[in-house]
Amino acid sequence: MRTKLLALLALVLALPIALGQGRTLIIAQGTDPTTLDAPLATDSPSATVVNHVVETLFEYTPDGKIQPLLVERYSFSSDRKTLTLYLRKGIKFHDGTDFNAEAVKFNLERLISQELASAFAFLLRGRVTAFEVVDSHTLRLRMPEPFAPVLAHLTHSSTGIQSPTAIRRLGVGYRDNPVGTGPYKFDRWQKGQFVELVRNEDYWGRKPAIERLRFLAVPEAATRMALVETGQAHVAVRVPPQDVQRLNARPEIEVVTTPSVRTIFFYFNQSKKPFDDIRVRKAINHAINKEEIVKFVLGGFGRVSDAPISPGIFGYTKVGSYEYNPNLARQLLAQAGYTAQNPLRITIHSPNGRYLQDIRVTEAVQSQLRAVGVQAQIQTLEWGAYLAATNQPRERNEIQMAMLGWGTVTGDADYGLYGLFHSSQQAPNGFNRGFYANPRLDRVLEQARVATNPQARQQLYRTAMQIIYNDVPWVFLHSEQQVTAIRREVQGFVVHPTERLIASGASFRTSAER
């Protein structure tokens, strides 16, 4: 009897170890992907999944370098108006289609096509005008003028090369069933719950050690932490600051802090009252105490923004931050006609679970606004619905002020500024969702795209950011740090500064190694 009990006990004790050695790596993200079609995926949780399935021509390494991935080598013509790509040979898409110059041409032309209406079309549209297939594995990109950020843009997940056969065959259904060349193949997607990928046994590069990846959608931070603590997930993103110490104290969990190129902001919808008035926009900026928010809501895991993009990105220079000055805020509001008798009433849209402490930040802002007499109401929506609401065309756009975050994932300011502030990028075409327009800024951003001299570009971006700062299209909040909880049995898991999670090089430690 006793031996039986002991055996049972041993079995129970051994169970967690056996589970830890499972062949599925489980990653708890905050939100479900919105789409798995590379050019349509506009958020990191989607891009993270897509990047395991679909590869890009170039990659942006975690230490900030651009290097070839699906191309073997490349060359620019002497006038820098032609880029020749020599593609890797012998690669096949997961459905057996050959990876070749035609496939690349198909994908890049699809990205900039009007029919697809990708918000990332600006990465190449108008700048790369012709894609010439030289031979089966050589492609020439023709540009009317030199286009400095072209290589950086070809690292972006939206330029990922997907199987033309699958796209033609599946049509709209492709977004639920991506086919690429990557180390993992798409397996299934239980909407709202998880996406599962399975190892590509014929991968051209180094084959991943882990057989399956499962990306869970867990909006609530406390639940994500509970999952990683109980071993039901191996990785959990966005550890809330108050849990960092507690998790770190546990021997089986490591809390990893990675800088992020993501800037968090509230944008103002300038196409309608009350934020068509620059005094109101300035007042809101002065009313918000960003230092306190970073210190006490983010627990210090962030940095107050002093420019629309974060440090470490090419083109960044400090342009300043609107100081916390509630008296000035009140004065500005009074000038704009808002008083205690006639207070400014607004609705703030906020995501919940997408960014670090997002709803807490919005609540803190709401409370600070109340202190200067602004009555703000918070509206939260499920992430997919939220993105859709912010992307409505001007006439139908109900947003007044909304929180978004932008990761300049190409490492080049063009991506962070052109896409967000150029007047051609107003919703629903691009990411200028507040309908901001300044012709002078447009000109500067266009010049910066074609300038070849890095110093000249740097100077142009400084000017551009100065203009943006003065026009106050945003509440400039902070840039995030990524705080990720990873169980110690997992090694080689990469949290990229672009907020992508990379599991391709990860493996499970055996219990002896632990």
Binding site: Q245, K295, F296, V297, I359, E363, I378
Partner: protein
């Protein structure tokens, strides 16, 4: 002998029976406290329910010292704040805690009551969190007080809606029968076939979130309960001799319904209303918990509980107190309802 006379004679008896029941007394106590707190929320609450203090986020309930700096007796508190890294810092200096202090001005009952008097407060630049602070550094006690008002109004308005629609429908349906009864009871059956909370969720999803809509939704969810209950009573009452007698004397329907039938159907309605208060408050908290009810930063108990859940591991007090508040108020109404049912039961005593 008329039925009304006999009910007047039994009135003291049921009252005695109610007051002798210890559970009824407990129920009264919980409800009394709840109503008192709700009625004088700004006086009992030391601070505003929405004022944030980012340097005092989720501070646990604070300790009171009974000896002052020089050992003098009294109530004293220290400053407790949180460093950016999340550690608690307890100040050295002691500040006296006083009763009936002047503080933030408030106005209540739609401006009828204005004052700046608070039940207690600290004499000094320090905040005293008797029940701790939440993730925005807001005083949980103050939020609970104002939240009591929200819960009480939801309960009263929801029950009022249920009564105002359910009772007439039940009366007419039971008294006249016929096609109206048939139609009304089929609608009631459809509504009853959904669990109440589900019905409320569906209604809130249709009407939109927010406190007003929660009151309406929870009220609508109560309608079929009353309609069914009253119809049952009317069906049995309308065949009774005193009703027959009155009808034989030529009383019109209205008189029969409101002078003879309704008063005798009151006791189940009263019992149900007490239970329904508990249900309404629980539903409202449930909707708040699911994010369908009150919007932040409203100090609604269910919403507070939902928020506090995220801090269970680090700051359990944030969820504990709203949870206890909901529990005791629901328990109070349930105890009272049960005791009323026992006391009003004609088969007893």
């Amino acid at each position: 002998m008329s039925e009304r006379n006999s009910s007047q004679q039994t009135a003291p008896r049921w009252r005695r029976r109610l007051l002798r029941n210890p559970l009824a007394i407990a129920g009264f106590a919980f409800i009394g406290l709840f109503v008192l707190v709700a009625a004088f929320a700004p006086f009992i609450a030391p601070y505003s329910p929405v004022e944030q203090n980012l340097r005092g986020t989720y501070v646990p309930p604070m300790r009171i010292e009974f000896r002052g700096p020089e050992g003098q007796p009294g109530l004293w508190v220290r400053e407790v704040s949180r460093t950016p890294l999340g550690q608690l810092e307890v100040g050295e200096e002691l500040y006296p805690l006083r009763f009936f202090v002047r503080g933030e001005p408030w106005s209540w009952w739609g401006g009828l009551l204005k004052s700046d008097l608070h039940l207690f407060g600290v004499d000094g630049p320090v905040k005293f969190y008797l029940l701790g602070a939440d993730e925005q550094g807001r005083d949980i006690l103050s939020r609970l007080c104002y939240g009591a008002w929200i819960s009480l109004s939801i309960g009263l308005i929801a029950v009022a809606i249920g009564l105002a629609v359910g009772v007439p429908v039940g009366l007419l349906s039971g008294y006249y029968g016929g096609t109206f009864d048939l139609l009304a009871q089929r609608v009631v059956e459809v509504m009853l076939s959904f669990p109440g909370i589900l019905l409320a969720i569906v209604l809130v999803a249709t009407l939109g979130t927010g406190l007003t809509n929660v009151m309406i939704a929870v009220g609508i969810a109560a309608i079929p309960v009353y309609a069914r209950l009253v119809r049952g009573s009317v069906l049995s009452l309308r065949e009774r001799e005193f009703v027959e007698a009155s009808r034989a004397l030529g009383s019109p329907d209205g008189r029969l319904l409101f002078r003879h039938i309704l008063p005798n159907a009151l006791s189940p309605i009263i019992v149900q209303s007490s239970l329904q208060m508990a249900v309404a408050i629980l539903f409202a908290a449930g909707l708040g918990f699911l994010g369908l009810g009150a919007r932040p930063p409203e100090p609604e108990w269910g919403l507070m509980l939902a928020r506090g859940r995220e801090y269970l591991a680090t700051a359990p007090h944030v969820a504990t107190f709203p949870g206890l508040a909901i529990m005791f108020v629901a328990l109070g109404f349930n105890l009272l309802g049960d005791a009323l049912r026992d006391a009003l039961d004609p088969r007893r005593g």
